[in-house]
């Protein structure tokens, strides 16, 4: 018998950090934000223009969760409906000394070359001919052709992209195909990614669009000035060179280090001007929270038969807790509800009423 059976719950549904396992990633409540994000993705699935969207909110407001949720294949498939699915990736904004290389590496890490080849072949995308229309850089055309050449070993080719496991003698094999060097500058990386994204989304045949979610974008404020310029240059160039079918989300947490107003300090005009929409993930209001709680507690992954209420929480407890915590992030509410639930399970309670809440209130919300 699980600890939470008495509450008709399979497990504690309140997560303090966003789930990684895609089966555990569900969306509860906050229909407006969900709809805004869905609309952005649907729009990119249907229309060609590339766009840059800023998602901003306080720490713990659900931005990372949103990025992970909208990277789920099943969610993307539903949004695509009968159209091709987007290729979507979430990227942790790097705070290293070589941010563009780190972004590039994270993208390469997530590319399944064998699957990409298969998908483009099945959809009858003629790579040698399409690649000419997506880049005029002959070297990049040749790199892309090799990438989609089934006679080229996909693992060795990934080594070429990473450079780390690629030797000069490997390079000699590629030279006769017009690939005489490895990538050396940030510009090479951007050109390659842009050509690749344009190719796989060509006429939305194999993929309808490419979506990149940059999480923790506020970390740009912690880079040195050279790298701030490098990231700006990367963002501007990737959008310019992928004019179609690219959707970039920048997740920005507001803090003393950076708020939306500080964006001008770190984003060059050319990048800032490309932001099409700013989606705010606000502090939850009472009604938002109640809807969220009801949907979360009754989601089939946590409860077999929906009770369609706040069980095991008495509604008055929820009101008390909301007024006790005040205007705080969703994460803080999750922490409080999680602790309350765990404590009630530990104390063998069958439900959570105001009397019990008052007993342990100090532990739950502090002084």
């Amino acid at each position: 018998m699980s600890t939470f059976d008495r509450f008709q719950l399979k497990t504690n549904p309140f997560r303090l950090t966003p789930a990684i396992n895609s089966e555990e990633l569900i969306w509860a409540g906050f229909p407006e934000v969900k709809e805004k994000l869905e609309n952005r993705i649907k729009r990119s699935i249907q229309i060609p223009n590339s766009s840059l969207i800023l998602n901003w909110g306080e720490y713990g407001s659900g931005k990372t969760h949103a990025a992970r949720y909208f990277n789920k294949i099943s969610v993307l498939q539903e949004l695509a409906d009968t159209k091709s699915i987007p290729l979507s990736m979430d990227i942790n904004f790097p705070n290293s000394k070589q941010p563009v290389w780190d972004i590039y590496t994270q993208i390469i890490d997530k590319l399944d070359i064998v699957y990409l080849r298969k998908n483009l072949k099945n959809k009858e995308v003629n790579v040698p001919s399409v690649v000419k229309s997506v880049t005029d850089n002959i070297f990049m055309q040749n790199v892309i052709k090799l990438m989609f050449d089934e006679t080229v070993d996909a693992t060795v080719f990934k080594g070429y992209l990473y450079k780390t496991t690629f030797t000069n003698s490997d390079l000699r094999n590629y030279a006769k195909e017009g690939v005489q060097r490895t990538f050396s500058t940030d510009n090479d990386l951007t050109e390659f990614l842009a050509a690749l994204f344009s190719l796989i989304t060509y006429q939305k045949i194999a993929y309808s669009c490419v979506i990149l979610w940059f999480d923790e974008f506020e970390s740009i404020s912690t880079l040195n000035s050279v790298n701030i310029s490098a990231v700006n240059h990367f963002l501007r160039a990737i959008i310019d060179k992928t004019p179609n079918n690219l959707l970039l989300f920048l997740n920005l947490t507001e803090s003393a280090m950076m708020d939306v107003g500080d964006l001008s300090e770190y984003l060059q005009e050319a990048v800032k001007n490309r932001i099409k929409e700013r989606i705010e993930l606000c502090m939850p209001k009472e009604e938002d929270l109640k809807t969220y709680l009801k949907e979360l507690l009754n989601n089939p992954i946590y409860r077999e038969n929906s009770t369609n209420d706040y069980f095991p929480f008495n509604e008055a407890v929820i009101d008390e807790l909301i007024s006790g915590l005040g205007n705080v992030s969703l994460r803080r509410f999750n922490e409080a509800f999680s602790l309350l639930l765990e404590s009630a399970a530990f104390d063998n309670k069958d439900s959570i009423d105001v009397a019990y809440y008052n007993e342990i209130k100090r532990e739950i919300i502090g002084e």
Binding site: S255, A256, E335
Partner: protein, 276 residues
């Protein structure tokens, strides 16, 4: 500028680690009426291999360090005999490190040249401790790397504001990364620590303080929480293991906050340059 300047180890390293290829800051330091103590020079050599620096930064600093040997001065024997023990007792400071020797050197330079001076150190606890001695003996002013950059900016005609902002951003970047990594490590484990001790309100409160201190860049709140965990080492071993990985996190945070504050002020208030 003819006023004497005494530099501590961390300030030398901090200024050089953000210098450009054109050696702009190094050249400006060379133009100062600069003094350093023997201990500081030795510490700088040692620390350059221990501080978390990139290979380029390490090579660059090592290459520039020999110049500082030419600025080593020892306090005269009489000053050392009459005032060294006095200084240690006054400040209740027993560690014979660069900061202590720099303070004695400052006293010597001040009295020898008959001039007040500037001593720059990024060791904030030492700065607070020795400040009272500087005031008592009327030696001069203690500042940090940010103060030194601001001083160089107003006193050097071709030091442009854009360049100052870049140096400050670069220094901020160096200091905020450990803070960011520290907070992230705490955040990643917070869930399991809280689950282990669900009834421990002090634990919850202090973990929350680390998050709030970081998000609001409030080093008082952050340092409070760190001090709490440090004083309960056996109870919170895992948290202390994380804190141990970042031994300078409290003083580093103080400098981080100061840099951020100056960067913001520069957007609203101009610094008056030297009149030429």
């Amino acid at each position: 500028m003819i006023l004497p300047v005494v530099l501590d180890t961390c300030t030398i390293i901090n200024v050089l680690r953000i210098d450009d290829e054109d050696e702009f800051l190094f050249k400006r330091l060379k133009d100062l009426n600069l003094y350093i103590s023997d201990n500081v020079y030795n510490e700088a050599h040692k620390n350059v291999n221990h501080k978390p620096l990139s290979r380029e930064q390490r090579d660059y600093i090592t290459q520039q360090l020999p110049f500082f040997a030419t600025r080593i001065v020892s306090p005269d024997a009489r000053i050392k005999k009459d005032f060294f023990e006095d200084l240690k007792n006054f400040c209740n400071y027993k560690k014979e490190n660069g900061e202590l020797h720099s303070t004695l050197l400052s006293l010597h330079i001040c009295r020898n040249e008959g001039s007040r001076l500037f001593f720059y150190t990024d060791d904030f606890p030492a700065k607070r401790l020795f400040s009272s001695y500087f005031v008592y003996q009327q030696i001069g002013t203690i500042g940090d790397s940010v103060d030194l950059l601001l001083f160089l900016f107003w006193s050097v005609p071709d030091f442009k504001e854009k360049r100052l902002k870049e140096y400050l951003q670069n220094l901020y970047s160096e200091y905020v990364s450990p803070l960011q990594n520290f907070t992230k490590q705490i955040e990643q484990n917070k869930d399991s620590w809280l689950k282990e001790k669900p009834k421990d309100t002090k634990l919850k409160e202090n973990l929350q303080k680390i998050e709030t201190g970081y998000l609001n860049l409030d080093f008082h709140i952050l340092n409070d929480a760190i001090a709490f965990f440090k004083s309960n080492k056996s109870k919170y071993q895992e948290i202390n293991n994380v804190i141990k990985e970042y031994p300078d996190i409290d003083t580093e945070t103080e400098l981080t906050v100061k840099i951020k504050d100056v960067i913001e002020k520069l957007n609203n208030f101009k610094i008056c340059k030297r009149l030429c």
